[in-house]
């Protein structure tokens, strides 16, 4: 695998921009010709994966389409039908399979995602250095919209890093440091760090995952090409994106943690760390089970470099800790080979006002995280993780238990903290878990290459 052609791949796929604010616009197309001319106008705005040798830009723009959006752009039927079934159906129709039921069911989603007549056709993501930079870029996009009449903006989602003391951080609303675990892929230029790719047979070293786990048109971890639409040129260098707006019930989380911590011998912060698998500062408890250690959390050579092979009973990091469930590393044996086709790349940012621990909060406050995940196969990667590792516990030897943080518990969930005979690390069971996170909507998107965008804009998609 040589280097990928970064100028043909949307930058959002190849790197987390690490820009502090973002705005996600949701577009609706009316007329295919006008919509295609809009895309032609936007082409020059789209941020590619090329290196930023001259420093970070003020803002970036990326675009992705729902299957309905591609229909409205009048892609040939013979192309539309070759997209994977789950993408054709969209996330709403996959609700039962994903466990998006109860409070997470589509009935409770934001109106944007419930409208049966006016659907979301495209996602336009703007990331920026500042809100002013977002405004400037949006004004330019608005003028393209006005001049072409290609689309209407149905809704707009603001998102921003949590600022503490005036500086952007990677904290999320429950108070944990986030964003450690994105995988490395062959051919993607990135400062790699141990623990972010796949575990090698020696059980110690790490290597990048096959490119085809992220991008269409390349071999995946099984040596196969991922299922992709025809023609090849439309699919290659593209990927699929999951967009989920996850509301966080911060008041419920804090009250639950306080209540349980009063019964737990290890103390509140340790219990919080057991939920996630990291202390709030990001220190992995597998590496430092007794206390946070900033020399680990802040060292890229240590913060993601750990395995569970020496902790199969979960006495350091519980078997059900969020981190261990969604990225089990070697926890299922075989030096981690069982999980290499189930990895996803996460993007996204928190939304809503941040409240420090000493500030009052209510579940009704509009805050959460815009979760976006990229993968070559929605069904094999994101949907599998969601269905089997988040909403079920069998692979983690946890029976029917769901992920403590993300699970759709309905007040009946359970989380077991495995422990030992010491006073500071006792075994503990949290019962009657409420829903800490609620889904407020989202969909599946196709994020095409620059070439494919041009083909769509010019009406050149030809499946023959």
């Amino acid at each position: 695998m040589s280097k990928l052609n970064a100028s043909d791949i949307q930058g959002f796929v190849l790197r987390g921009y690490n820009l502090p604010v973002a705005r996600y616009l949701f577009l609706h197309f009316e007329d295919a010709t006008r919509a295609r001319s809009l895309i032609a106008r936007l082409l020059g705005h789209i941020t590619t994966g090329q290196r930023w040798d001259a420093g970070k830009p003020q803002s970036t723009v990326n675009i992705a389409f729902t299957h309905r959006g591609l229909e409205h752009l009048e892609l040939p039927l013979a192309t539309l039908l070759t997209f994977p079934v789950e993408f054709q159906q969209g996330m709403r129709q996959r609700a039962a399979l994903l466990g998006d039921t109860g409070v997470n069911s589509p009935d409770h989603w934001d109106p944007l995602w419930r409208n049966d007549h006016i659907h979301v056709h495209a996602w336009l993501g703007i990331n920026g250095q500042s809100v002013e930079a977002l405004d400037t870029r949006q004004a330019a996009i608005q003028s393209a919209l006005d001049q072409t009449g290609g689309a209407t903006i149905l809704a707009c989602q603001e998102a921003a890093a949590v600022f503490i003391n005036g500086k952007p951080t990677t904290k999320e609303h429950f108070g944990f440091t986030d964003g450690f675990g994105n995988p490395d892929y062959l051919g993607v230029e990135r400062s790699t760090q141990p623990g972010q790719g796949k575990l090698m047979p020696d059980g110690k070293t790490w290597a990048p995952l096959a490119t085809g786990e992220l991008l269409l048109g390349y071999a995946d971890e099984a040596g196969e090409l991922p299922v992709a639409p025809v023609p090849h040129l439309l699919a290659a260098n593209g990927t699929f994106m999951v967009y989920r707006k996850l509301h966080q019930n911060v008041a419920t989380f804090r009250a639950f943690l306080d209540r349980q911590a009063a019964l737990y011998g290890g103390g509140k912060e340790k219990l919080a760390a057991k939920f996630i698998g990291r202390w709030r500062d990001g220190t992995p408890i597998e590496r430092s089970p007794d206390k946070p250690d900033s020399s680990i959390a802040q060292d890229p050579n240590l913060s993601t470099d750990f395995t569970y092979g020496g902790d199969l009973a979960g006495t350091r990091c519980p078997m059900g800790a969020h981190l261990r469930r969604v990225h089990p590393r070697d926890a299922f044996g075989f030096n981690g080979r069982l999980i290499n086709r189930r990895r996803i790349t996460r993007r996204g940012l928190p939304y809503g006002p941040f409240a420090a621990e000493d500030q009052p909060v209510s579940d009704a406050d509009d805050r959460g995280v815009v979760f976006m995940a990229l993968n070559a196969s929605l069904s094999r990667q994101f949907e599998f993780v969601q269905q089997q590792w988040v909403q079920y516990g069998n692979d983690s030897h946890l029976g029917n238990d769901k992920d403590v943080l993300m699970g759709n518990h309905g007040g009946h969930g359970r989380f077991v903290v495995q422990g030992d005979s010491s006073n500071t690390n006792p075994p503990f069971v949290c019962s009657n878990l409420p829903d800490f996170v609620e889904l407020r909507g989202g969909d599946y998107f196709f994020l095409p290459s620059i070439t494919a965008l041009g083909m769509i804009a010019l009406g050149l998609v030809d499946p023959r």
């Binding site: 079934v85 039962a96 991922p226 299922v227 094999r380 949907e383 077991v416 503990f428 069971v429 019962s431």
Partner: protein, 210 residues
């Protein structure tokens, strides 16, 4: 013994399906239709007969040619494939099926060549054995535990987990008193019915390339 792993038996049976151009729908389709509508969980036929850990019934039409460099081959007939992880001795297991779910067996296997019916138990067992292949290498559902033992273990695990969850921090006297009562109650309980211990999950497919 290639078909056994400890006390768990790996059964593989291939029964040729009747080829009859006049049958409409064809016999293989009639089997597919019946299998597609079988109940799951406690109502599954394999939950109603003793000794099945997990079982699978599949209609195998033919070997599909996938292109070069494979060579093109075909089966002599369509087959009904029956795979089962089951307890104990094969004769006992097959007799249990014939005794408990004869109507299901007949509805499925009547479309197979030479099937004698489940009413004649001896003939049924002989027929199944005549269709048997050595399994040699298989996924063991559990490690050397019978179905009743596995169900009892699941019941105990679930009950003990509930007991722990409701007694964390209890004083030793209460804990001992409640535990003695709990253990006696648990022991008096019958094992849960097969198929009842999982979460309710509709059978759903996730699309291509699972």
């Amino acid at each position: 013994m290639p078909n056994k792993n400890g006390s768990v038996y790996g059964l593989t049976i291939l029964s040729p399906i009747i080829e009859d151009e006049k049958a409409t729908p064809s016999h293989d389709l009639q089997i597919r239709n019946y299998l597609a509508k079988l109940s799951i969980r406690e109502e599954s036929p394999f939950a109603q007969a003793p000794g099945t850990h997990l079982a699978r019934l599949v209609v195998m039409d033919d070997v599909i040619y996938v292109g070069m460099p494979a060579c093109e081959e075909h089966l002599k007939s369509k087959y009904l494939v029956f795979e089962s992880n089951c307890d104990g001795e094969l004769d006992t297991y097959l007799t249990g099926l014939a005794t408990n779910i004869p109507e299901h067996l007949d509805a499925i296997w009547k479309h197979c060549v030479g099937y004698p019916g489940a009413a004649n138990c001896e003939a049924f067992v002989d027929y199944m054995k005549a269709c048997q292949l050595d399994t040699t290498f298989y996924f063991a559902a559990v490690n050397d535990k019978s179905v009743p033992e596995s169900l009892r273990a699941l019941q105990t695990q679930s009950a003990v987990a509930n007991f722990i969850a409701t007694h964390q921090g209890a004083d030793p006297v209460t804990l001992q008193r409640d535990f003695i009562e709990f253990a006696a109650h648990l022991e008096s309980q019958p094992p849960p019915p097969p198929g009842s211990m999982g979460p309710y999950r509709e059978i759903k497919t996730g699309g291509r390339n699972e």
